[in-house]
């Protein structure tokens, strides 16, 4: 049950990152004239990003309420893996072998740093 909660939290938080990316790129492509922040605020993706981040955070707080912090926190690093997979297969970004290696090393580092 706790692990399901962790996965739901991470799925929401990762989805928010994808939405933030889409909103930022679309706002950046719009003709200049208004400020970037105004263009961001006018995009519905921005607000969906806020909503999914808020929902993910609430699920994460539920996880922290039920689990020991030092046991729960290392799982946050899995979010990085989810975001990278979504960048590759949904946003169609090119990820070099070197970058994948760097990501795996960062994930291990986060696990060590956030554990007990």
């Amino acid at each position: 049950m706790d692990y399901v909660l962790i996965f739901v939290a991470l799925a929401f938080i990762s989805t928010s990152q994808i939405l933030q990316k889409i909103a930022a790129v679309k706002a950046d492509k719009q003709p200049a004239g208004t400020h970037f922040l105004r263009r961001l605020a006018a995009r519905k993706e921005t607000w969906w990003a806020v909503i999914t981040l808020g929902t993910g955070t609430l699920f994460w707080l539920a996880v922290l309420y039920r689990m020991e912090v030092s046991k729960a926190f290392p799982f946050l690093s899995l979010g990085t893996v989810l975001v990278l997979l979504a960048s590759r297969y949904y946003l169609r970004e090119t990820i070099s072998a070197t970058r994948w290696t760097g990501v795996v090393i960062i994930v291990i580092g986060i696990v060590l740093l956030s554990g007990s």
Partner: protein, 138 residues
Amino acid sequence: MTAGRTHWKGILLIGCSIVLSAGAQLLMKAGMLELGNLDIVRTLEISPEVIVRLLPVLTWVLTGLVLYATSMLTWMGALAKYDLSLAYPLLGLSYVLVYIGAVIWPHLHETVSVSKSIGILLILTGVFLVTGSKRSRL
């Protein structure tokens, strides 16, 4: 990424996001810690003394939330320029800052450990690889 001004602007935006989100987490952590020290959650008794002690908690948590929101804005500014797969792993650096901050800030008094120090080295190595690969230079 094109060379010139935008180059530095992008790095600055990512740097700000990392520092702001680490600051936000430290402030909220300190706030929640202080809240745990107050008995208000258990007794639900509101005395003038409790309210006075609640003020710094609220200030910390609220400042933390403001920093968090600001970091989201600088982050989206950075995402307009960089691939998500390049920028997102760099957020690992905020874990390093949070750890260093929690050790230095007497209020949080966390201790240094070998495994955590190795964790920092790994994150820095990983960030070096992610930003240094040929196609993805910052």
